[in-house]
Each structure stands twice: as C-alpha cells, then as structure tokens.
C-alpha cells in the first residue's frame, strides 16, 4: 500500500479550496459563541454557529484580526454592550485554510447596523413583555414608562439608604463621597449591598442583593444602584427582563446611576434614572434640602407674623397710654384748668353752687379756699 504524507493531502485540500474560493468574500448571518478577545493584540477568536431551534446545525471557527477587530470595537462603542456570546451578527468573511490549523473564516467586516437593530429589537421585545405581563401595573405613555416603583412616594427626608454597587468601584466612592460630604452637613446611614455588577451573570447577582434588602426587613428610605468606572460596554445586565421586572415592582424607591449618558437601559426606564452615582447622591441631598428650605421658609413666616403682632400690640399700648395721660387730672391742671370741691366733694353739677357756700379750688400745685359771692351765667354757655 502506498501512502502519502498528511501534509500532502492537506495541501491538496488547500489547493482545492483556493481554486474554489480564492480571495472571494461572503456576507453571512450567524450567531457568535466561544468569543475570546485579545484586546492588546486587537484579535478576536470566536465560533460562528447556526441553530435550528436549540440545536446547532452549522459551526465554523473564525478569527477577527485587526482589520475585523475595528468593527468589534465600533460595535461595542455603538451598542454599549460587549461583543459576546449569543449575539446575532452579519459579517463579511473569507475562507481560510491552514494545513496546521484547519478550516476557518477570517472576519473582515461586521454589519453593525444589523447588530444595533437586533439589540433594539430585543430591547423593545423585553419592554413589551414587561408591559404585557404586568397586569396593567407598568404603563407605557409617549415613550415614558410608569411603574409601581416610580409611583412610590419618596419620604419627606431620605436618611437610610441601601446601596447596591461593586466593591471598591469608582461608583461606590463617588456616591459616598458626594453624599457623606454634602455641603449642608446632613447625615445618612448607608448599608452597602456589594456584588459584581458587570459580566454575563451580573443581573443575577444584583437580583440577589435586592432580595437581601427585602429580606432584611430594614426600613430603608430608598435603594441606590450605582455603577461607574467600569467598562463602557457592559450594560447588558441592565437590559435583562428579570432584573427590570424586579426593579419595576420593588417596594422601595430605586434610583439608578449606572454611569452612561448616551443610552437608557431598561432598568433605568423602570426606576428613577439619574445617570451617574454622583448625580444620585446629589439628588438625595437636594431632596432633603428642599424639606429644610421649606421648614426655614415656614419659620421665617412665623417670625414675621409674630414680629408684626408684637409691633401692633406695642402700638396699641402706646395709643392707650397717650389717651390715659390726656385723662389724668394732673395733666389737665397743668393746662390751666381747675377742680372745684364743696365739702370735699368734686362739683360736677354747678347748680349745687350757691352764694355763701365755701368752695375749694384745686389748681396746679395749689389749693385755694374761697366763698361764693356772686354767680353769673357763663358767657360761653350755649
């Protein structure tokens, strides 16, 4: 039997493939899996698969070298999601064969508009499911979502906060720094519920923290879920149905500051979205300041009313005092008037005065005694 070397056969395969495919390129639609990125080298190894129901019916190794990697970076920038397992993509590939590494595709381009469309479709489907399965509790109105959580009334003053964040993250530091060093000197109690907030299973970790907050029976005033300083692309946990549903129905008001300005995640739509950890803390401080400000205003109003009342009372007493002074006989005598007395009784009825009666005349500083000699009718008597 005559045998040829393995490489000889493989070279033949290589030649056949070269003649068949050469430098041709193809646009194909596939799901990606086994994604391994080498960011420093800007390479990405992956598998392209096609499924029928849940069964994989086609599979091919693929590599995005730096030419294709540019599109992966663009994908992550546009979608704020990792280029990760499970995504449907449309990509331009070239068939590549190596007698050592076998058959694979080189990924040359990725149609990111398709990827974006897919993500948006997925997002809309999740939002629709949230509304449809909420028994009318989650209502969509003009692109706004009204959830039981958003309808919860905030306490007048927020002091006790459950914080969901990643340990030693920028988000944790920024939130606490802004909150605890606030300009008004307000104090807060912050209980931290720490967990991984990025990665494929992050939403499960976050859900566990919400469950712990619920189980604690502690009367928190609100939940702050903050994230910052991590990857710009890992927002996938916040697009998950289960986490979004839990937040939408959570019994405490939830603030989100998950650190992205361009997009709004599904979880953001279900809660009170404030974009960044610092903004969440500032909002809570401001909420409390509104209460204090209102109190100060009320106090000022009371003070003004009291002041006004005192001033009115003072004026009233001054007026009464003036009147009393004008009635004082001593003051009347000073003006030149006199008081007449007969038998030590003040004469208020002049008809009692008769000729020969002894009278006492009291004027300023002196009392005069005299006898009536004559009585004439007063000239100015009307």
């Amino acid at each position: 039997m005559q045998a040829i070397n393995l490489s000889q056969l493989l070279y033949k395969i290589d030649e056949t493939l070269q003649s068949q495919f050469g430098y041709q390129t193809f646009w194909i639609k596939a799901e990606i899996t086994d994604v391994k990125k080498y960011e420093s080298k800007r390479w990405c190894f992956l598998k392209l698969i096609e499924k029928k129901d849940t069964e994989i019916i086609a599979e091919m190794k693929a590599t995005a070298w730096s030419q294709g990697y540019v599109f992966i970076e663009q994908f992550e920038r546009l979608t704020q999601q990792h280029f990760a397992n499970g995504l449907q993509i449309i990509c331009k590939v070239k068939v590549k064969y190596s007698i050592k590494y076998g058959l694979s595709f080189d990924v040359l381009e990725i149609d990111n508009s398709f990827a974006l469309g897919q993500i948006e479709l997925q997002k809309q489907a999740t939002l629709k499911r949230l509304v449809d399965e909420s028994n009318g509790q989650i209502i969509k109105d003009d692109e706004q979502y009204f959830t039981p959580n958003k309808r919860l009334k905030l306490p007048i003053v927020i002091q006790k906060i459950a914080l969901i964040t990643a340990q030693n993250s920028d988000g944790q530091r920024d939130f606490k720094n802004e909150l605890l060093n606030n300009n008004y000197g307000y104090t807060f109690e912050v209980d931290e519920y720490l967990c991984q907030i990025q990665g494929d299973n992050a939403h499960e970790n976050i859900i566990k923290q919400f469950e712990q907050i619920f189980a604690s029976n502690i009367n928190y005033h609100c939940v702050a879920m903050v994230r910052g300083g991590g990857s710009e692309t890992d927002f996938k946990p916040f697009e998950q149905y289960e986490l979004a549903k839990l937040v939408a129905n959570f019994h405490l008001p939830v603030f989100t500051g998950i650190g992205h300005d361009r997009n709004t995640s599904i979880v953001d739509l279900m809660a009170r979205q404030l974009k960044t950890p610092t903004k969440v803390a500032a909002h809570i401080v401001e909420h409390n300041f509104m209460f204090e400000n209102n109190l100060l205003y009320q106090l000022n109003q009371i003070e003004q009313n009291v002041h006004l009342k005192i001033e009115r009372a003072k004026q009233s007493i001054i007026n009464l005092k003036r009147l009393l002074m004008s009635f004082d006989p001593n003051n009347i005598l000073k003006k030149g008037y006199a008081i007449l007395k007969v038998n030590n009784v003040i004469v208020s009825n002049p008809s009692l005065l008769k000729i020969g009666v002894e009278i006492e005349t009291i004027i300023k500083d002196k009392t005069l005694k005299s006898v009536i000699k004559n009585i004439n009718k007063s000239t100015n008597e009307e």
Partner: protein, 58 residues
C-alpha cells in the same frame, strides 16, 4: 389686682374698657384717679409681657 394671672390680651381688653368708659364720661372725676391707677398698672403689665414675648421670640 392680680395681673400675673392675666394674659396680655385680657389686660389689653381691660385697658380698652377703662379708656372707653373714661371717654364716654361713665366715670366721674372722683373714681377717675382710681381707674387711672389701675390703667397704669395694666399698661406696665402689658409692656412687661411684650418685652418678655419679644425676648422669647428672638
């Protein structure tokens, strides 16, 4: 007169009554000095009350 048991408003009312009586000549000259003495005490009482209230609200 036990002014200490009075409130400011009660004292003020009493004062106003005295003034009103004097103005309408309901009080003869004999009784006037007694009423004036009473009124002066009431004024003093009211002024002290006001001072205390003012101090307390500062």
């Amino acid at each position: 007169m036990k002014n200490k048991e009075l409130t400011f408003s009660e004292a003020q009312l009493k004062l106003e009554e005295i003034v009103s009586k004097i103005e309408s000549n309901e009080i003869d000259l004999e009784a006037l000095s007694i009423k004036l003495k009473e009124a002066k005490e009431l004024v003093k009482f009211c002024e002290e009350k006001l001072r205390t209230i003012e101090e307390n609200t500062k």
